[in-house]
Amino acid sequence: MEIPYTVAERPDTGVNNVKLGIWLFLASEVMLFGGLFSTYVILRLGGTDWPLGSDILSVPIGTFNTAVLIGSSVTMVMAHASLKMNQFDQFKKYMGLTVLLALVFLTVKSYEYFDKISHGDLPSASTFLAIYWTMTALHGLHIIGGVVVNGYFWGPGSKMFHSRPEMFANRVEAAGLYWHFVDLVWIFLFPVLYLL
């Protein structure tokens, strides 16, 4: 017996397994980052003093990275749309761009990290830096995970397009949902850490 509804929607629930699975995973991620945002608020409310993010972090660099990540989210939806229109070359182009932009984000983030380390702004220096490092590092790990998955679908995994195109599009959609979520987290992280 094959496992049913891996690609097709189940009529009474209206989803297929992969889509439901990735959304459930994202629900747990919402709670994971929720715990960290809650921590941010409690530490800030409890502190006697709290620095302005822009005094410690570089707003231009942060803005640039925000733009990069939003851009990669756009290329990701385009990659999925290309698959739905059966344009494999377009898919390759957009997926490649997505991975590339993610790598740009990581490079810029690493530069920021090294800059912080060289100024002695380690997590232990203050509560603000502690939450900054923890949240961005956890987010960075999610980016790395996304690069691995998207890179796989861009490279060796894309062979599946020729044998089972529907299943492949399905998986790319799931990878895309994850990637947009990572982008969404950054959309909140950026103002919270850099601007407020």
């Binding site: 017996m1 094959e2 496992i3 049913p4 509804y5 189940r10 629930t13 989803v15 297929n16 397994n17 439901l20 699975g21 459930l24 995973f25 629900a27 747990s28 991620e29 709670m31 994971l32 980052f33 929720g34 715990g35 960290l36 809650s38 921590t39 409690i42 530490l43 409890g46 502190g47 006697t48 380690l122 997590p123 232990s124 220096a125 203050s126 509560t127 502690a130 939450i131 490092w133 923890t134 956890l138």
Partner: protein, 590 residues
Amino acid sequence: MENVTTAEQVSHAEHGHDEHHELSFLQSYVFSLDHKVIGIQYAITAMLFLLLGFTLMMIMRWQLAFPYTPIPVIGGLLGQNNAQFIAPEFYNSLGAMHGTIMVFLGVVPLAVGGFGNYVLPLQIGAPDMAFPRLNMASYWTFFCGGVVMFASFFVPGGAANSGWTSYAPLSVIATEGQTWWLVGMIFLITSSLLGSVNFIVTTLQLRAPGLSFMRLPFFVWAQLVTSFLLLLAFPPLEAAGVMQLMDRVADTSFFMPAGLVTGDGPLEISGGGSPLLWQHLFWFLAHPEVYVLILPAMGIVAEVLANNTRKPLWGYRVLVASVIFLGFMSFIVWAHHMFMTGMGTTMSSFFQTTTMIISVPSVVILSALLISLYGGSIRYPVPMLFALAFLPMFAIGGLTGLPLGLTAPDLHFHDTYYVIGHFHYVVAPGTIFALFAGIYYWYPKATGRVMSELLGKIHFWGSFIAIQFVFTPMFITGLAGMNRRLYDGGLEYAHLQEVVGWNATMSYGAWTLGFFQIFFIFNFFWSIRNGKKVDDNPWKATTLEWQAPSPPPHGNFTSPPEVHRGPYEYSVPGADKDFTMQGEADPAKA
């Protein structure tokens, strides 16, 4: 369904059959993708950890019963520090690790990972879990977490010793074992998340044709709600675990207030953190976790009761509604563990109220199970004995919890043996007895043989009597004010002199309980080869798993099951036998 099998399906089936023969030993028993093998892996690992956790407690109980005397026989094996008597630091490690192992490595993996994995796909008529690879990854992540936890006993300073709750700031300045504890927890949480995604997708998506939600066995409902609890309550603790790890290895101050002074002088940290934050994030998981422990147990008991009373469960719809409501409410009661933290009367009143509310669905479930007995022609095989014992034991555990949920009495009870007695009545003679019921009940499905009745009855009666001697005295000592973490059992306190004698009683009870588990362990392994052979449905049960061969082959069912009726159609008037299986076609339509 059989008639419309397409050629493609046939070729797939044959393909699957061929694959089955090609699987190597590693593929079929170690890195298996089959939910039944993974379920058994979970169950065996979890039972080993239950034994380990129980052993730790039996060692602790020596120090409590006979303080400052050498442990006979095994005393020499515990290292030089403990040769004379158990060192205080080691005692703390034993306590912390007993709780951690029992909850996170024993009961939950057995109830959810073991029974959930093995029984749930069978009960809904699915060929496997929705994501078999994820399932395997979940088990091995759990296994790694277990290895890290176990290894932590051998690091300098021993295993974690700040209690299973790991309250900051104590845990942040504790020995290296705490770092291992946190890493282990991160593994275990990740494993739970992977598992719960899999369970929810499987339950919603892979139900056999005709198996609507109101035809699901109660066990499946319980597992579904449990999975949602794990999915949404565990991540905040993962975040908290990461932050405590940062506090320990990167010297941050998430949970560390400014101006903290230890025996070595002032701590050199930036400060500004909140110790209470850890408690909030910990209990945000750990209270739903209590329901993760109890809901699958209730599910097992419901199955066994319906089967052995030979009548439908009373109030199936009410049971389902209660279990959903219970799951929802369990997210907004956590701070009743924190009445003593001074969070203020407003919040205390709120959480006291929600705690009283959550007791209502628990009582509804218990009452429905109890009423289900009325008018049944009850059989008493071993699983039924354990299931019946669950009812009063869970009732004692639940009712003794009520005073703890009210702020005023909690001031007195907090952190005493009363609390220990309360939650152990819920978890030990409650959940663990239900898990024993499940093992005896589904053993024939997994092996094709039943476990020995005689050994099972010895195991049951011995355990049932011994366990009362362990936990009932705890209410007495707790009411007298004995603190739960005292190293010498209260020997040095004037107000406890009248009750310290109970410590020895409890210890003898615990060791007797341990002795009677030998019958179970022997029975479990002996029956694999020597148990009485039985057919596919030895208990004459109605749910789908009994329609599959014993043990079920790869892919579970010989023909795709189709469901025609509710889960508990026992003694239907006019039927030719006293059980009508879910997969049986309606004679009128046939």
